[in-house]
Subunit: 341 residues, 2 copies
DNA sequence: TCCCATCGAGAAAACCTATTCCCACTTTTT
DNA sequence: AAAAAGTGGGAATAGGTTTTCTCGATGGGA
């Protein structure tokens, strides 16, 4: 807390600048905004005065007149978890470049809080709202007929007329599968999260799709459990029992992959020599900390955020409203765990 | 994106409400704000009209008049990492309750970006700024003589006249040490992060302080490395070599603890029977995923955020400006890894 | 040489929305 | 009838932007 000017200094207005430059406020405004006609000398004098006084136009006054606020709301339902942060960063990136500021709120997954925050954002005259969250099943829309455009990022609205931007889970699964086939693996197992998660189902679909094109099936069938290391350990045991000759395991998350890796070590299977391992999320502390650094699928969360922000800005600018679900392609990050054995 | 009203509807102003209720705008304002005197019937009519039209007073106009914006800026230098998020949550909690909204910006650790964002926040007339980041050595002040109060959370300003709120690392280290002594351990090792980090030095100081009170020293000396699992694995090996009879290891982070745990397993030492293990951060995916769930020190990051916000609100309200460094006590979270062996 | 038209510079005023203070008018009370 | 109380309108205000207006100078034509 700087124990400084902030108690004393009245903020400087265009009135002060005009007085200092010896012109009217209207002239001062025109000078500062580079419009209207006046002698170059006058314009320069106003500019100098503004500089001198550290004049900053009050955006409230500007917004009041222009009817715009250059702000958007960002509502997250993930308690700022691991997924929504990169999305937020990407969004901020795209918005910040356009001088748009971001009001942030966290709903703690509470619909009442959420409604309250949306009300507050609308009261503040945000020009648009981005809703982000960890992605499970599609969520209820935050409201029909809101007076501003809304984009869902890393979460999907149940309302088809909303625009949702989510990662391409199926493509990610396919990417992992093709990579494993390309490195000579043919007996690929899959340990992933709960069947209740769309993400888990889609990743599995991507995998099985590619395998069946190659005339293969998932070794030991798809194993659903929860998104934990513990399940990874158990799942690997189950898989080794059901398909002892497995030579690759694709995991639904990096956490699961860590658990799988641990069990593989204990059972004397080397990674990647005996079994190749692919994770999902590219959560670096997990993926890099793994005893054999993990090859993993990166969902490009930042890109999702950027795309959401870009669509929102388009909508604010009056572009025709898009709707439905857009996916952002995933990328494969290669590390030790799938080195050709 | 709701393909709805947002292209058509002019926003409704108090003028519309006044017209609908058949009163002047001054009267409408008084009715809505519960001030002035008028017939109850008139007031009710205005309220009904406002309700009907979904009137929301324009906060820009209100702010312009009141000279207040009820907004604060939150500047983070952590690329929204794991540390600043809980801090932000806590801050938002305390601020949101007071109807204060939060402008978020991420500096990507770039001083130019940071300066730019601070300018933008000031232009938007925020009433205060919270600076948060991962905490290393004290950082440069974001600016002297800013027109608004500033509080640093989870990061420390080099300027002593600034107020910084950081976790009590030394207290956290002491907490861990006392717990280990209380469960009967006497040969306590310490594997932690780089010596360059104040946090690492303070945690070590807390540990050694308690140990020396009990007439003990750190087993195998304090081992500094980086904040990774890999270093945890190495550090544990070094420690087991230097002090083979070690019966407890306090680690500077949960990640390091995971590495340590892995080496202990490989060397045939059981946790907690042979060696007790304490981490730092209470980073749940790490601490719970560890083969023996980790006892760890929680820095109460949310509390740091809440405290920062509370101090900022006080300063905005005109309370005398505080300065210096305030610490928030840490808490010990007990899990399996220190069960009495 | 004189008058009107034109143009340029900058002042003045309207406007955006909501609040607040003051005043005028009406109703009630003494 | 006069004073007091109750109602509600009107205007000022906040800090900008934008449009309109005024004044002086200049130029062209008669």
């Amino acid at each position: 807390m700087s124990n400084s000017a902030h108690e004393t200094g009245r903020t400087v207005t265009i009135r002060d600048v005009a007085a200092a430059a010896g012109v009217s406020i209207g002239t001062a405004s025109k000078a500062l905004n580079g419009v209207g006609r006046m002698r170059e000398e006058t314009r320069a004098r106003v500019m100098a005065a503004a500089e001198e006084l550290e004049f900053r136009p009050n955006p409230l006054a500007q917004g009041l007149l222009a009817g715009r606020t250059y702000t958007v709301g960002l509502v997250t339902c993930d308690s700022f978890g691991r997924f929504s942060i990169p999305v937020m960063l990407g969004a901020e990136d795209a918005l910040g470049a356009g001088q748009v500021s971001v009001f942030m709120c966290d709903t703690r997954d509470d619909p009442i809080r959420e409604h309250h925050y949306v009300e507050r954002l609308l009261a503040r005259r945000v020009e648009g709202i981005i809703v982000t969250g960890r992605r499970t099943e599609p969520r209820p829309s935050i409201g029909r007929d809101l007076p501003v455009p809304v984009v869902y990022a890393m979460t999907q609205s149940q309302d088809e007329s909303d625009l949702s931007i989510i990662p391409d889970d199926e493509g990610g699964g396919a990417l992992a599968a093709r990579h494993l086939l390309a490195t000579g693996r043919t007996r690929v197992g899959h340990v992933t999260g709960p069947q209740g998660f769309q993400a888990a189902r889609r990743r599995a679909a991507g995998l099985t799709g590619v395998l069946s094109e190659a005339g293969l099936r998932v070794a030991g069938d798809v194993l659903h459990g929860d998104w934990s290391e513990e399940w990874g350990r158990q799942g690997a045991d189950i898989l080794l029992h059901a398909a002892p000759d497995v030579d690759a395991i694709f995991c639904g998350s990096d956490q699961i992959a860590r658990g799988v890796a641990e069990t593989l070590r204990e059972r004397g299977r080397r990674v990647p020599e005996d079994v190749a391992l692919v994770g999902f999320d590219n959560w670096e502390p997990m993926a890099l900390g793994c005893r054999t650094p993990l090859t993993t699928v990166d969902m490009n969360l930042g890109e999702i955020g950027r795309a959401a922000a870009a669509h929102l800005l388009d909508a604010i600018a009056g572009e025709p409203t898009r709707s439905g679900v857009l996916t952002v392609p995933a990328t494969l990050v290669l590390r030790e765990s799938t080195r050709r054995g």
